[in-house]
Structure formats: C-alpha cells, structure tokens
Symmetry: C2
DNA sequence: CTTTACACTTGCAAAATGCAAGTAAAGTTA
DNA sequence: TAACTTTACTTGCATTTTGCAAGTGTAAAG
C-alpha cells in the first residue's frame, strides 16, 4: 500500500511525491486551521472530497508522518487527526500559497483579514501558530 | 480543453486547481532555475515526464497565465517557454517547499548551498531573482 | 534532397478519481 | 434491551487521468 516512489532527489520533486495532488494540502489546511479534525470534519469541508479518496489520502499522509491519529477523548467511535511537527512545518508553504492566491484570485474576506495579520509580522505569526498547534 | 472547475473559493483550493499535481511545479521549478526552457529541456529533467503529459501541463499552465510561449531567436523549429509575472511570483512558494524538504529529506549539495544563500537574506534573494527573471 | 532535430499528437493499457451504496463498531434513544 | 443513529471507513464500478510507445509535421542541417 505504501509505495514511496521517489522520482528524483530534488526537494521539490520529493515533496510533490508526498503531497503533490489536489487534496492532500487541503487536509493539511484544515488541520492548520482547526488543529484537530475528525474524519467527518474533512468530509464537511467546502470542496467535497469523496470518502474513499479521503481515506486514501489520510493513510498516505499518516504513512509519510505528516499527520497522526489519536483517540478522541469523548468517544471510541471517533478518531482525531492532528499534524505532526513535519506537517506543522508546512505552514510557511501554506502561507505563501495563500499570499500568492490573494494576489491573483478574489478570496474570502475573513481569509484576507488573516493574511493582513500574517503580513504584519510573518515570522511572529508562524512562531505563534506553531506553538499553538504543538501543545 | 480549458475546464477551470473551481472547487471552492479558498485560496489554497484555487491554487491547487491550477498547479496541484505531480508535474506542474516541476515545470515552474525548471523555469525559475533556467529562466527559459524549450520543450526538450523539460523532457530532459531528471524526473522523466512523459511527452504527452508535458504537452498537457504546458497548455494548462499557459491557459492559466503561469507561463508563456515565445519565439526562439535561433530557430523557428524551437519554442521558448518563460514564466509570466504570475508564475515568477510562485518563487516564495517554491522557496518554502525547498526549505521544508531540506529539513525532512536529504537533498543535493548544490541545492543546499543555494538554500544557504536564501536563508541569509530571503527577501533580498527573492527580489534579486525576480529582477533577473523579469528582464 | 535526404537526414536529423524539435515540438508535439495519437493509441492504448494501467492507475487514480469520483460516485453511490454498503459495512461494522460504538453510542443513543425508546 | 432492542431499534436507531452516528462515525469511520470499504467496496464496486464508471469515468478520468496518467504513462508508455510509437507516429506526425515542420524546420534546419548535411
């Protein structure tokens, strides 16, 4: 199930081998925003990922140590997904994607407001967010 | 041919709709490094993209104004591809991907050396590179 | 005028994606 | 405690995308 086929040793290529598809970074995005998500939370995201694709992506991200599963405190029927440090470290990538998109697309107001904060002090924002996600 | 199916208005989602696949950012990478590439140059890149996939990606990137074609000065048989400003502006994304990958993979020495330069003065590096690519 | 270089296109098999329905365990309600 | 619901997936199948190999057309070179 876990075929890690490395196309080259270029860092960009290696990265894309793991999360270079239309869905993986959306999962990471959800977790950067929400810190912890259940399977159902991902399904409810606006883009409408199919449940089998979601399952496949979650497994791949877990195998690549981007995310990890943990028990839900309220119920054995629920599962929580969370970013590992490796996943959290995608935050700068995510921020730059947002800034790029802001320049070339029209994006929601609340996201614009957040990016305004980011631009005020990027390093500070990243540091604070990582701290929040890690505990 | 140019179906721009937007899944949501999230900036991340919009971005991935355009270049969220295993190949597009490698094309952008080649152009960020080389400034201008021919069709054959892309084919020669280490990852070994199939020629039909390359043609499809180049067309999609062109339709989305990430790259543009221009006449080769030496020959009518050759075509040059170059980044538009929109494509050049993916540089910060590309840099963060490289920095992330450097932390979690072993990457080639020459790329490490380049990233050392980047880390010394990220804003300066970006500014200088953009200037170089734009003229 | 024949050969080579270059930028693609085409055909087809294999893999990934997307949709709808189904399953199993856990929790909730009557 | 029996029936129902919620949750996290799995399964089957049609559609789409990818990958490989071979082919085409135009321009340049010999």
């Amino acid at each position: 199930m876990s075929k890690v086929k490395k196309r080259s040793d270029c860092p960009v290529s290696c990265s894309l081998d793991i999360w270079g598809d239309k869905w993986s970074l959306l999962i990471v995005r959800d977790l950067l925003f929400a810190k912890e998500c259940t399977y159902g939370d991902f399904l409810k995201s606006g883009e409408g990922i199919a449940t089998n694709i979601l399952a496949a992506r979650l497994l791949a991200l877990e195998e690549n140590k981007i995310i990890e599963k943990l028990a839900h405190p309220d119920s054995k029927a629920k599962v929580l997904y969370r970013l590992t440090r490796k996943g959290i470290d995608l935050l700068p990538v995510m921020i730059e994607i947002n800034l790029w998109a802001e320049k070339y697309f029209s994006i929601p107001e609340d996201r614009k407001a957040l990016l305004k904060e980011v631009k005020k002090d990027k390093a500070g924002f990243i540091k604070a967010t990582i701290k929040e996600l890690e505990r």
